[in-house]
């Protein structure tokens, strides 16, 4: 982690290809340093922050006054920071008989701030939870006394989680965890607090800025989707090819517990929807032996979407994994104990995240847990199936090679698609796709779950999901369409498809469906638009290839002349 001084030196080192983000910071303590830390750290992720700061202690005034500087600024993100030291001051000013409700009223106030903000702004709200400390009044007995400071402080932290699961655009920045990890003696500096009203030490600021930025990046679709493990001395201690099945360290042997713990972490991530892969320098048969025969292995072969064990260089192997999964290099994490392999991958594939593991395996897991590699901005039940879906994909690729005619291959897949309007079951997944998809995304308009919800209720828009299955299994929802209903045409506000289903003719199926939907309402024209980004070149010619005609930077399809595309997908 860079020091605060180093982050300050970063400020201003922007470039024209950086994404621009407007962040408003409202705090009840001095927040200038926090703003500088976030600005400086943003540079390393190619983000240029424009920061608006209110004078401190003006949180309510900024939000409840509709003509405040905050609303003029029109931020993408609003960060609110109620500090726990200030909270104690407020707590001490609260009459004794009202202290049991202190936490509850704090949460209610926040809920009011949120709804007032959301009336006017589409911005997402980031909120710091509270760094915990004791006030030395009841001692450990505080835990029994509802009217004690610690009791109310922890109640707030707990209820913040409840509130943020209710309010879709409220995201908690867990600075309490940062403080726990560093220790309060390092996180808080009394002199800075009393002399400058700074409530986070200069050592703590970069870590707090990092957590804030992690959330912002996740909300902008920058997330990790795949975890690639090395095997020898990473998933187990020792070298399977040299030491043999009985002597590799896993479970109770040697430092085996540390490796088992790493495997358990991998398993948890897999269950959350992270795709696991193996990339190892080994003979494939030798590499697979522990997974098949060792009784203490936590991860099994079926937990991995792809298993690559050979003697090629690891960068090439990771390129192959990337091709099969069809995800960006910047969404991959590679874990390897060997600094040589790590550097090779870092140099050949700079976008892949390669954490520098500590030397001693016992330190692996704590280090990785604190790197916050897998921040996310959404979660759906569908995530758990992802590895199965990618495994099926790997099988399809092998199967495809046995066909010389692509049409013959596609028809043999026996694809079935279902098209539905957004509903309560699909909305979380729709929001996830809308927030994450970068490549097959014609206009890259980002929608939050709350916004998707309002589209499903709207009279002026139609939101559609398309799900697909074939003989290998279900893909789940693989495309989203949002149509804006105009008087004489439908405008395709959003067309997103999962890159897993490219070259299957899904776009033909979808356009056929859209055209019959529009015709049934007497609409004669469908219009689309392509807004280029760095990542969506793949759909540059999308509308042209579907027979749309370009006119004044929009693409127009005349439905009177439209002839349905032949395709290999039947409607379920």
């Amino acid at each position: 982690m860079k020091s605060f001084t180093e982050l300050c030196k970063n400020i201003g080192k922007t470039s024209s290809d950086f994404s621009k983000i407007k962040l408003a910071i409202l705090g009840d303590s001095a927040t200038q340093f926090l703003g500088q830390g976030i600005k400086g750290l943003g540079i390393d992720s190619k983000m240029e922050f424009e920061v608006y700061e209110s004078d401190f202690g003006q949180i309510d005034q900024e939000i409840f006054n509709p003509s405040s500087g905050l609303f003029n600024f029109d931020p993408d993100f609003v960060l609110i920071f109620h500090d726990s030291n200030k909270l104690l001051q407020k707590f001490m000013d609260t009459p004794l008989d009202q202290r049991q409700q202190f936490g509850e009223s704090h949460i209610q106030n926040l809920s009011k701030l949120y709804s007032t903000l959301k009336e006017k702004l589409s911005a997402k709200l980031l909120y710091f939870n509270l760094a915990e400390f004791r006030d030395g009044v009841f001692g450990n007995y505080s835990n029994k006394v509802e009217g004690s400071f610690l009791y109310q402080l922890r109640k707030i932290n707990f209820n913040l989680m409840n509130l943020s699961s209710e309010l879709k655009d409220l995201f908690i920045v867990d600075i309490c965890s940062v403080c726990n990890q560093m220790g309060r003696d390092h996180f808080f500096n009394a002199r800075l607090y009393y002399q400058a009203s700074l409530t986070i030490s200069l050592d703590g600021l970069p870590f707090v800025a990092q957590q804030t930025l992690d959330i912002i990046k996740a909300l902008k679709g920058q997330i990790k989707k795949c975890l690639i493990f090395d095997l020898d001395n990473t998933l187990w201690g020792g070298v399977i090819g040299d030491d043999g099945l009985e002597r590799i360290e896993i479970g109770n042997l040697g430092s085996g517990k540390a490796h088992s713990e790493l495997q358990k972490w991998g398993k948890q991530l897999k269950e959350r929807g992270i795709i696991l892969a193996v990339c190892s320098k080994n003979d494939e048969e030798t590499a697979k032996e522990p997974f098949l025969k060792h009784p203490e292995m936590v991860l099994k072969l079926e937990d991995f979407a792809i298993f690559v064990a050979n003697w090629n260089n690891k960068a090439d192997n990771i390129r192959d994994i990337q091709k099969v999964l069809n995800i960006g290099f910047d969404s991959m994490v590679f874990i390897d104990d060997n600094p040589y392999e790590r550097n090779l991958v870092k140099e050949s594939l700079p976008e892949v995240c390669v954490p520098d593991l500590p030397e001693d395996p016992v330190d692996y897991i704590d280090f990785l847990r604190n790197e916050n590699l897998f921040e996310t901005s959404s979660h759906s039940g569908n995530d758990q199936k992802r590895t199965e879906q990618y495994r099926a994909e790997a099988e399809r690729i092998v199967y495809q090679k046995s066909f010389s005619d692509p049409g013959e291959y596609l028809s043999s897949l026996k694809m079935q698609a279902e098209i539905r309007e957004f509903d309560n079951f699909s909305i979380p997944r729709v929001a996830q796709l809308a927030e994450r998809s970068n490549q097959f995304n014609l206009r890259t308009i980002r929608y939050s779950e709350a916004e998707i919800n309002s589209i499903s209720d709207s009279q002026d828009q139609i939101g559609l999901t398309i799900s697909l299955k074939d003989k290998y299994g279900e893909y789940g929802i693989i495309a989203i369409i949002i149509l804006n209903k105009k008087t004489d045409h439908y405008f395709i506000d959003t067309w997103i498809m999962s890159c897993r289903v490219l070259k299957r003719g899904v776009e033909w199926f979808i356009l056929n469906e859209l055209s019959s939907l529009a015709k049934s309402k007497g609409i004669k024209e469908i219009r689309g638009e392509y807004i280029p980004t760095k990542k969506n070149k793949i759909v540059k010619d999308h509308y042209q290839s579907l027979g749309f005609i370009e006119k004044e930077s929009q693409w127009i399809l005349n439905l009177d002349k439209y002839q349905e595309f032949d395709n290999y997908i039947s409607k379920a």
Binding site: T5, C8, F33, N189, Y194, A196, L198, L202
Partner: protein, 79 residues
């Protein structure tokens, strides 16, 4: 460590923290002499000096610092 050595170390800290390689500190240098030395940077300077010199100032000492010489003298007195 004598005053000259302390002054030399402080100079490095100032250059690094204020991100200005041209700074040349003297005992009588004050915040008015260096453009980047504002109240926020002052906080960073004090924290950096404490860390690098492995010393700790009290709040009272800090408020009494009038120039670089005061800082040097305070560090020397604590050794």
């Amino acid at each position: 460590m004598d005053k000259a050595e302390i002054l030399k170390k402080l100079n490095d800290i100032f250059i690094n923290t204020l991100d200005n390689a041209d700074i040349v500190l003297k005992m009588e240098t004050t915040a008015a002499d260096i453009e980047e030395w504002d109240s926020l940077r002052h906080i960073m300077l004090v924290v950096e000096i404490e860390k690098t010199m492995k010393t700790k100032f009290t709040s009272k000492e800090i408020t009494k610092f009038k120039n670089v010489g005061d800082i040097v003298n305070s560090i020397e007195a604590k050794k």
